[in-house]
Structures are given as C-alpha cells and as structure tokens.
C-alpha cells in the first residue's frame, strides 16, 4: 500500500542565537542588547544537549537545509514551531520586538524558501495586547497557520486576560498551538520546584491537562466558539481519564461555571487536537487501542515527527490503524484543522 503524504504538525525551527535576530531588531533594541550583553531569554525548559533534544544525524537547532534533507521526505506540509521563549523576557516591549524579529526571520529564512512549510506566529503572550498586535501583523500571511503559546504561562489559558489573543486568532482564522515548555517564573508543578529535568519533562503532561481544564472550565470555547487549539508535544494517552474526571466534576460543580453549558468532554472533542509525538504509549498495544476508542482518537490526533527531538517510535500507534484511520491521523485531521 502506498503511503499518502503526511502532514507533520511539529517541526522545530529554533533561533541559533540572539545575533540571528539582530538584522530584524529596531535600533533601540539592537543597541540595548549589545550594550547589556543580553543573550536571550533565561529559560532552561529544554536544555540543548539532553538525550531527547536531537535524534541521530540531527542537531537541536536544525537549519532549513537539514530540515529539507531529514524531515520532509513524504511530507506534504510541515508545520514549524519555534520555541524561542520571548515570554520569559520580562521587558514586554523587548519581548514584542523579539517576536516580530522572529516572525520576520521565519518568513525570510523558511517560508519564502520552502513551499512545503507553514509556520507559527511567536507572540509575547504575557502581554496579550502586544501579542494581538503581532497576530494582526502576520495574520494575512498565508504561511502562518497558527499562533504558538508555551504550555507554561503566568495564568492558565482559559483566563480572560488572554482574550485579545483569541480575538485576533479567530479574526484571522488561525489555530492556537499550545506547545511543550515555557518558563513563566513560578514552579512547573502544583507542589513547587523539582530537582531534575526528567521531572519537568514528565510533569509537562500535567500542565497540558491543566490547560485543557482551564480552557474548558473558564469558558474560552463559549466566548470563542470557532477557537481551535492544538496541544503539541504533551502526549494524549491521558485524555480519556481527564474527560471522565472533568465531566464528573461538572456534574457536581457546574453551578460554579454556568457558562460551561455542555459536558466538558464535548468541548474537548470539538475544539482540541493532539499531536502524536511523544506518544507515551503503553507497552500493550491493546491498551493503546482502548485509549483511542475511549476518547475517539481517530478524529483528535494529528501526526507529528517533533523533528529534531528524539522520542520513541510511533509504530505501535500507526500499526493499530486502518487505512482510513491512518489517513485521518496522518493527513486529513491536520488539513481540516489548519485549513490547508
């Protein structure tokens, strides 16, 4: 059977170094960065040399040539997710200028040179009005299909403070992507700071769960009925358990949030999509089949390589799928979600 070309929903295009952005920064910030010896945001959310950062034959910050030769075979469209943490730059104006510079760099160095690629708008989401401006700046560019937000922020994403971001995203019919990582200053767990990176890494799934709870329970999808959110690099096997739990909470506590008018799992199914890398799969494929069945995974999952990150094989999932299901997960779901 010939494989249909895939849509890869998570390819990383990282900024090699702050100097890369110099040509795109206004004079004021260029002088400021030089004079202060500012090196970029202080975020240790993904150390560059950890074993998951790059697979064999790749670099943690691949350039276009590397992505073209390693990551685009059999890929119809690849979605770029730049994880530069402008949100961790406390000076909001500098953060906004860095975001603009990154997006300009993405257009010139990636989108204009490789028609198979699409990109995500980097925004200073800790300042929603400035983030909305950035979305308006690029919203008409056909190369941008998504606004990218780090999973960890100052407040969960259902909070109304983020509404300017959602208003702008919806206006330009852009998806939102919530992606692994973020360094907002407070701890990555509900119980404070862990000692090891592996804990931050494992805990990130809980942050995604918290974001789903927040988006649904704080009514983001009632305020923005056309808002669609991709959860990228956070796993998905936890989704059935979260659906059950929050549906149960809603039965007991729905008077708490009267604007949540349908069972939470219905919002999750209609507004959320999940990339499949990392898979966090069970050792028993039958258990994975149960998970897919429980949450309706064939309509919710989107293929991703997470290039250049190094994770375990996705074959345990792909081997479970019928041809029709495989087409949905590897192509059709993302095509519809990103309006490709």
């Amino acid at each position: 059977m010939s494989e249909p070309a895939r849509i890869d929903c998570d390819i990383h295009n990282e900024i090699p170094e702050l100097e890369t952005l110099y040509p795109y920064l206004p004079d004021h910030w260029l002088d400021y960065c030089r004079e202060s010896a500012f090196n970029g945001p202080d975020a240790a959310d993904y150390p560059e040399n950890v074993p998951t950062a790059a697979r064999a034959g790749s670099s943690p910050k691949p350039d276009l040539a590397e992505v073209q030769s390693n990551a685009l075979d059999d890929v119809e469209v690849g979605i770029l997710n730049c994880a530069y943490r402008v949100q961790s730059v406390r000076n909001e104006d500098l953060a906004a200028s860095l975001a603009t510079a990154i997006n300009q760099w993405q257009v010139e160095h990636w989108l204009e040179k490789e028609p198979r690629l699409r990109a995500s708008i980097v925004v200073p989401s800790h300042s929603p009005p400035l983030a909305a401006k950035e979305i308006d700046r690029w919203g008409h560019h056909p190369g941008f299909v998504q606004v990218i937000l780090p999973a960890r922020a100052e407040a969960p994403y259902g909070n109304r403070r983020y509404d300017p971001i959602y208003t702008a995203s919806v206006k330009h019919d852009l998806a939102l992507g919530i992606h692994y990582g973020g360094a907002p200053g407070h701890p990555p767990t509900p119980t404070g700071w862990p000692s090891y990176f592996i804990e931050d890494y494992a805990n990130m799934a809980q942050v995604f769960q918290s974001q789903v709870i927040s988006l649904v329970c704080e009514g983001a999808f009632e305020r923005f009925p056309s808002l669609r959110v991709a959860l990228i690099e956070g796993g998905f096997t936890w989704l059935p358990s979260l659906m059950w739990r929050i549906d149960k909470e809603w039965k007991g506590l729905r008077h708490n949030t009267p604007y949540v008018r349908r069972p939470p799992s219905e919002y999750m199914r209609s507004h959320l999509r999940f990339t499949i890398q990392p898979l966090d799969a069970p050792p028993n494929p039958l258990h994975l089949a149960q998970i897919l069945d429980q949450c309706g995974g064939e309509d919710l999952l989107m293929y991703a390589s997470d290039y250049p990150h190094c994770h375990e094989s996705q074959d345990i999932l792909l081997d479970l799928l019928t041809a029709e299901q495989r087409d949905k997960i590897c192509n059709a779901n993302a095509r519809a979600f990103y309006r490709l």
């Binding site: 119980t191 404070g192 592996i198 059935p240 729905r254 149960q290």
Partner: protein, 391 residues
C-alpha cells in the same frame, strides 16, 4: 496487526473478567444512564472505609490539647498557613448537608453522628480517620508540631478510645522532616495509628531531601505515608499559574498527585527507603496508567540524569503505592472501567473510601459504576486495606 478503535475488537490481557460474557453489557449501561439510577452492588463483603474526616468541634477543644505557650499563641495569632489561594467551596465545609450535627459544631466533629451515618449505617468494620486540621500547613513549624501532637492525642482520647472500630492517622508537621520524624517515632508502634498523613499540596515536591528524615522514621516503624487531596503549599495548583474556579482546583488535584509521584520516583526516595509505602487518598486513579506510560518512556530516554532509578518507574509505582477509590472514576461506558482496571493491573492496591462527611461521598453500594466479581469486591472493599494496615 490491525486493531480497530472499536472496543469490541479489543481483548484485555486476561486480568479483567469479560462482563460481556456475563451479559452485563446488554443489561446495564444504557438503561442506567437514561434513568439516572446507578448500579447497586451487593453488600456481601466486609467494609473498611479508608478515608473519614474528623474536625475539632471548637477551637476550645483544640486548645485543651495544646500545651503552653501554644494555647495562647493559637488564641492570639490563630492558624496561619500559605494563604492567597482560596476557592470558595461548593458546600459549607465541603460537607454533605445532612452531616451537620445541628448544634453549631462542624460536620465530622460528632462521634455519635458519625457512628450513625457511617459506621452503623453501612456496617463498617474499620474506619480510618484522616483529620484535615491544618497542622502540617503552619508556617510556624514549632506551632505546627504542637498542633500535630495535640491532634494525635485528641484522636486517641476522643475517637479511638470510645470507638474501637476507628483507626487514626499520625498528623505530622511535614514541612520539617525532623519534627515529623519525631512525631512518627512517638506513635509509630501504637496499634491505633495506621499511617502518617500528608496533604497533596506540599511546599516542595515530596521527593526533595528535606522530607527524607520523615521517610526514614516511617521506614523504621513500617508506617505508610498517606497523601491526601487538598491543601495549599504557597504555589499555584497548575504549572501555569492560578485558575479562577473551585471546579478547576478540585478537578486539578489529580495533576498534583501525578507531580508527587513523579517526584517520589525520580528523586530517589524509593531507592533510599526500599520498604516505604505510600497511600494516595482521594486523587482518583484513571490517570495512573497514562502517567506510568509517560514516566517509563521518559526514563528510557532521560534516565541518565537519575542513575539512582534502576528499574522502570511503573514497577516502582506498583510496588510502593496504594490508591483509594474515592472520588470514583466514571468512564463513559462500563466496559471502559474494566479496561482501566486491566491497564492499572493493581487489583491488590485499591482501597475503598467514602470521604465522609464531604459532599462527594461515595456510598459502599453505589461507589463502583460497574458490577465487579466477588473476589475483586472483597479486595477493594476491605482485604487490601486489611493487608496494608495489618488490621
């Protein structure tokens, strides 16, 4: 292999009894969902209720157990914890409306009412008290230690002495490992105390070394460490800041438990204390299989950072952790509950709990959403707890 998503095409690994074979699928799910009646289990096993909450009826009662100078201290400065993260609860005191004694004292503070509504009503053989009085959350650690001591003496004098069906928790000032160790040493060999009680929202992840003296004492006395829903440790309940609503705080507690498990496993506590046991209370359990899968996967890739973790996290978890059942998981379909039990593979580790007197009480006959075979009922309702707590 091609397996379709339809659960009818899946076969479990053999640990789960197929109720399709028993005809339950045809009888049970749609009907009960439509009519709002929940399946009732036969009460044909012993019942050990592992999560009962008691409270001081008045501050004067608490103070009568405090020594000087803490009696005056409590009167003057009160109870001071990590504030600023309060979510108004669904119900006053998060309690059942019918659990108020009626004399102005709070639910869970009146032994005769607790006997009537819980122990006698459901023929509970043994009940484990988990007093959530805030002793461990005091910022003044010395006062917290006195508060813990007072609570432990009060449990013995006013609950265990008059009611032999009850067992107590060793309350500890957990943010100080040494003070907590002293409290465990004091009560660890007393048969009335079955575990040391912590709360899920600690100030730091529980794997951190500051807590290790407490684990050392618990190991010394073979006292399990119980971690209960709730609390406020001074940081937001999500890794992304404070949510707005009680439903998010209440529904966010499973993420807190997951973080604690990640910490306890990856920070090496189980390597240092290989016989230590943990009981997770009121956190649910459907999130356990995906957490184990994620931890195992992370460990296979990133284990070089934690060389003290020498076996898959899922093996460590299944060996060291017990889990209470309330709030019961409620999957969309009954068969999914059985799938969950199969994925967990922890039939010897589930402990029935009611959470009396709280609003989300699970009754013994209605707790489980599906019929379970007698052997499983026996284990979940009593025998797992009996073995763990040596009752």
């Amino acid at each position: 292999m091609t397996v379709q998503f339809d659960s009818t095409a899946t076969v479990d690994s053999g640990t789960v009894t197929s109720d399709r074979a028993n005809g339950h699928d045809a009888l049970y799910p749609a009907a009960s969902a439509q009519h709002g009646t929940r399946y009732r289990a036969p009460l044909d096993t012993a019942i050990i209720a592992t999560d009962i909450h008691i409270y001081f009826p008045t501050n004067d009662v608490l103070r009568s157990y405090l020594d000087d100078p803490w009696r005056d201290y409590h009167k003057t400065y009160g109870s001071r914890g990590f504030d600023g993260s309060h979510y108004p609860r669904a119900m006053p005191n998060a309690a059942r409306h019918d659990a108020w004694p009626g004399d102005g004292t709070p639910p869970g503070s009146n032994l005769p009412l607790l006997q009537k509504q819980l122990l006698d009503r459901w023929n509970i053989e043994i009940g484990v008290l988990n007093p959530l009085v805030g002793a461990g959350e005091q910022r003044n650690l010395a006062f917290g230690a006195a508060f813990a001591r007072a609570t432990n003496e009060w449990q013995l004098a006013e609950w265990l002495d008059p009611e032999p069906r009850l067992r107590a928790s060793i309350i500890v000032p957990w943010e100080d490992g040494h003070l907590s160790a002293a409290e465990i040493d004091k009560w660890g060999s007393h048969p009335g105390f079955v575990h040391a009680l912590l709360i899920a929202r600690t100030k730091e992840p529980l794997g951190r070394r500051k807590y290790w003296p407490m684990y050392e004492a618990a190991s010394r006395h073979d006292v399990p460490i119980a971690i209960h829903f709730g609390g406020a440790g001074g940081v937001p309940i999500t890794g992304s800041g404070y949510p707005n609503h009680y439903i998010e705080d209440h529904g966010g507690m499973p993420q807190t438990f997951q973080s604690q498990i990640i910490s306890l496993i990856f920070e090496g506590v189980l390597k240092e204390f290989p016989t230590l046991k943990f009981v997770l209370i009121e956190g649910g359990f459907a999130w356990i299989p995906p957490l184990l899968w994620r931890m195992d996967s992370a460990w296979r890739k990133l284990g070089s950072e934690v060389p003290h973790v020498k076996e898959p996290p899922s093996d460590l978890f299944r060996r060291h952790f017990w889990v209470s059942t309330q709030p019961m998981e409620e999957p969309f379909k009954p068969d999914q509950f059985r799938q969950l039990l199969g994925q967990m593979d922890m039939d010897d580790r589930l402990l029935f709990a009611t959470d009396y007197p709280h609003w989300d009480f699970d009754a013994p006959d209605r707790a489980f959403p599906v019929p379970l075979d007698k052997e499983r009922r026996r284990k979940f309702m009593a025998e797992n707890a009996r073995a763990l707590y040596k009752l």
